[in-house]
């Protein structure tokens, strides 16, 4: 794969033109195209509209979380708490909406606020206490998971209003569920802000060098806080979406999702040291994981083998990127 890649991720972090969305992620994009081509020829069912729409529904949760994770990784951070925050969000919503019979919309809003507050606490630990993001969010991962279980003493919450579940089921205009639409909209807005707005460019600068960014007058702490809050809120939204899809909320949901999310962002060409990456690449990374899972299911590959394959894909994607950068 390495030999077919062109351009350097670091060089073209900035878009412009028709292919602007995936600038800097040409390598992963080629991988995605090859994957789709392979699956189209090796199965009858892959290249159908129905299958495509199924995959879109399946990747919604991952796609929403990956947007927040992209921002965090771009500024040189990491957020390990997203899987736990997702569970906490679902449980808060379910508890308030079902067990306490609050208006369901209000329950959703509170769930999102709680999730954003988790991000706020992580952000405070990183900016004020100067804790490494890995440790701060590892702590938050444990705290949020614990609180999610405390709410109902570990019980799951089943059965939400029909209109809520329908958000993830009814395909408007024959193809678009509200949840998928939400994911697409969030991705688009994030892409526009990151690519074209000063605040987005500032995040790249913070990831490149915090000190350089600070001396240039960028409010590094405030932006860092903002990114963690947003990442928490998006993880919470993903929890709401997952609850709608499953018509239930469980304290154990989203286990290990933080690693899937980080994997999607990294496959999309982002660097864990910060400053390199983009929403376009992340979208490609999410699609690769989504299509790969889907295709392996269609090929009736066992879930155990699937884990191995996804691990290999992560290693190959990052190794190809590293090799290319070293050559360039």
């Amino acid at each position: 794969m390495a030999t077919t890649m062109s351009g350097t991720a670091t060089r073209v972090t900035h878009g412009g033109g028709a292919l602007a969305f995936v600038r800097g992620a040409t390598g992963p994009l080629i991988g995605l195209v090859l994957l789709c081509a392979f699956l189209s020829f090796s199965t009858d069912t892959f290249l159908t509209l129905r299958n495509f729409l199924n995959v879109m529904d399946q990747i919604t949760v991952l796609g929403v979380m990956a947007v927040g994770m992209t921002l965090v990784i771009l500024i040189g951070g990491i957020d390990l708490s997203v899987g736990s925050v997702l569970a906490l969000s679902g449980m808060v919503m379910g508890y308030l909406g079902d067990n306490r019979a609050w208006p369901f919309v209000l329950a959703i809003v509170v769930a999102l606020i709680v999730s954003a507050a988790c991000g706020l606490v992580s952000g405070l630990m990183v900016t004020r206490l100067r804790m490494p993001a890995f440790i701060a969010t590892l702590a938050m991962m444990s705290i949020a998971r614990g609180v999610a279980s405390i709410i109902t003493n570990g019980e799951q919450i089943v059965g939400f209003p029909d209109w809520f579940s329908n958000l993830a089921i009814i395909r408007h205009f024959g193809f678009l569920t509200v949840t998928v639409g939400l994911m697409v909209a969030i991705t688009a807005v994030a892409w526009i802000v990151l690519t074209y707005r000063p605040v987005g460019r500032a995040l790249y600068a913070i990831g490149g060098s915090q000190e350089v960014a600070r001396l240039a007058g960028i409010p590094v702490r405030r932006y860092t806080m903002g990114v963690y809050v947003l990442c928490g809120a998006l993880a919470g939204l993903a929890g709401v979406i997952l609850s709608a899809r499953l018509d239930s909320a469980q304290p154990s949901s989203g286990l290990g999702y933080e690693l899937d999310t980080i994997a999607a962002v990294v496959i999309g060409g982002a660097s864990l040291s910060g400053g390199v990456g983009g929403i376009g690449g992340t979208a490609v990374g999410v699609l690769i994981i989504g299509f790969l899972r889907n295709g392996l299911n269609l090929l009736q590959v066992s879930p155990f083998v699937q884990q191995v394959v996804i691990g290999v894909v992560i290693a190959v994607a990052v190794a190809a990127d590293t090799l290319r950068n070293r050559r360039g």
Binding site: T10, R11, T13, H14, G15, G16, A20, T195, Y196, R197, P198, R201, A202, Y204, A205, G208, S209, E211, V212, A213, R214, L215, A216, G217, I218, P219, G275, V276
Partner: protein, 503 residues
């Protein structure tokens, strides 16, 4: 006076290079170099960046293999394929970029890879004792258990030197060793070198500072565009000749004429400024429009800390800074920037540039309102903005090049351009010419003159005293964090400044 290359054939002893060259693909960075270094001799390699000095150093120290030619060392063929090979042969390189393990102690850094052992365990007592001896030899008064991260740049460099001194090397290559050192540390290093020369150790010394080279080197070898252009006995060569050989053209003057500033109210006034970290106390001065104000002092005098505090980069405990009468909020760089105070920081790689990004991205940083007044930053607008900066500051490159690919001089121009494109009123330059070649240096002096001409206030900090004296209308001398006096251009000379600096 230009001497011919030395007669071939050494009587054993030293290092000899014959016809050494290096190509990377089609690009030749070094061609056909003959060079001899005798035991106990110090030779200086002189040349602009890209002239091939560092390539020679890398070849001799085993970092890079030559494409052509051969070397002999102490009478035997010498072809190291790794730095370890060079080290065991007794050749050590003290690199321009420090290679220290920041989170280990000084002692561990000095003995890394050859920790003294006793009974299967690291003998910390012996290690610390021997490291302390070396530090004392260098006159560094810190505990060997101090973490390298906690040392300032100058002290870190001394650890590198201490490390090399414990290796019992017979040939030491210094690549810009004094770039980060003040006058006192430099003197100490020179004493060390003189002592080691007497013991028969040879030196290859790379520096841009001609006055240093004149003191330290027995012979001077001038390189240009990868070729050896001249060899001189140090005692016989005028500085002007060297500079002209390096640049390849006659050099009329180094420092531009900067006319005295017109009488006017001060643009920036610093009153009783005191560092929150104890680096300086109660410093007051003011700078008028069109004035170049120098800040001199030895390393550790608090110069960098002072100018960082003035620009809001570091916290203060007391005092205030006024710009056009407005008191700055110095809790961060933001308010100072908004009032037109920009800092070109000391360490361009860590504080001035985002190395993995392009020239264009770096120039745009902090300049978004000027890149795109509408707030929509497109690739085309960034490139257009960068093209203006590249042209105005004569940066050798294009907007889409990575700054990490540029020479030190051009990187420095990018940092300066980024700041000046903010249209500031007060420009603070901290060590603006550290480690950059003569040509780029002259270009930066011209920029300073232009800023003064356009009515900006310029504050310049430099360890190069000639530079401070050559550019400034007035020079403030700091010593141990205090303002020891402000000298007018007429009064300011090497002696008067050093007298104040050492009080």
């Amino acid at each position: 006076m230009t001497a011919s290359p030395d007669p071939r054939g050494l009587d054993g002893g030293g290092l000899a290079l014959r016809g050494v060259g290096k190509n990377y693909g089609l690009i030749t960075v070094l061609s056909d170099v003959d060079l001899d270094v005798r035991p106990g001799e110090a030779i200086a390699l002189l040349g602009e960046n890209g002239a091939g000095k560092s390539t020679i150093a890398s070849i001799i120290s085993g970092l890079v293999r030559p494409t052509t030619g051969s070397m002999t060392w102490r009478g035997q063929d010498y072809a190291p394929d790794a730095p370890a090979g060079a080290l065991s042969a007794g050749i050590g390189l003290i690199h321009q970029e420090m290679r220290l393990l920041l989170d280990l102690s000084i002692a561990e850094n000095v003995f890394v890879g050859r920790l003294p052992m006793r009974g299967g365990r690291v003998d910390r007592e012996q290690m610390n004792r021997r490291a302390a001896e070396q530090l004392r030899r260098l006159g560094l008064e810190v505990s060997p258990t101090t973490l390298v991260r906690d040392l300032r740049v100058a002290a870190q460099q001394q650890v590198e030197i201490a490390k090399a001194l414990t290796l019992n090397a017979r040939l030491l290559i210094f690549d810009e060793p004094t770039a980060a050192l003040g006058a006192e540390e430099t003197e100490r290093l020179f004493d060390q070198i003189a002592g080691l020369k007497a013991e028969g150790v040879s030196f290859i010394y790379i520096s841009h500072r001609l006055d240093e080279i004149a003191r330290i080197a027995d012979r001077i070898v001038v390189l240009r565009d990868g070729r050896l252009v001249a060899t001189h006995d140090t005692a016989q060569v005028p500085v002007k000749t060297l500079v002209e050989e390096m640049v390849g053209r006659p050099l009329d003057r180094m420092f531009p004429d900067i006319p005295p500033p017109p009488p006017a109210a001060p643009l920036i006034e610093v009153e009783g400024l005191t560092s929150a970290e104890g680096a300086f106390a109660d410093v007051s001065f003011s700078v008028r429009p069109g004035e170049v104000f120098g800040v001199a002092g030895i390393v550790g005098a608090g110069r960098t800390e002072l100018v960082r505090a003035v620009s809001g980069a570091d916290p203060i405990a007391a005092g205030r800074v006024r710009v056009n009468g407005d008191v700055l909020d110095l809790k961060g760089p933001r308010d100072a920037l908004d009032h037109g105070v920009v800092l070109v920081p000391e360490d361009r790689k860590a504080q001035g540039l985002i190395l993995p990004q392009t020239i264009a991205e770096n120039l745009a940083l902090g300049n978004y309102p000027r890149v795109a007044p509408s707030g929509w930053i497109t690739s085309a607008r960034i490139q257009a903005f960068a093209a203006k900066g590249v042209a105005r500051f004569r940066i050798k490159g294009t907007g889409s090049m990575l700054v990490s690919e540029l020479s030190g001089g051009n990187q420095q121009k990018v940092v300066i351009a980024k700041s000046i494109m903010r249209e500031p009123k007060v420009v603070i330059l901290d060590e603006p010419t550290r480690g950059i070649d003569v040509g780029a240096r002259a270009a930066i002096y011209d920029i300073v003159a232009d800023l003064a001409h356009r009515g900006l206030a310029v504050i310049i900090v430099s360890s190069d005293l000639d530079e401070v004296l050559g550019l400034s209308h007035r020079v403030m001398v700091l010593s141990r964090g205090r303002n020891r006096g402000v000298l007018d251009r007429e009064q300011a000379g090497r002696v008067s400044v050093m007298e104040l600096a050492t009080t």
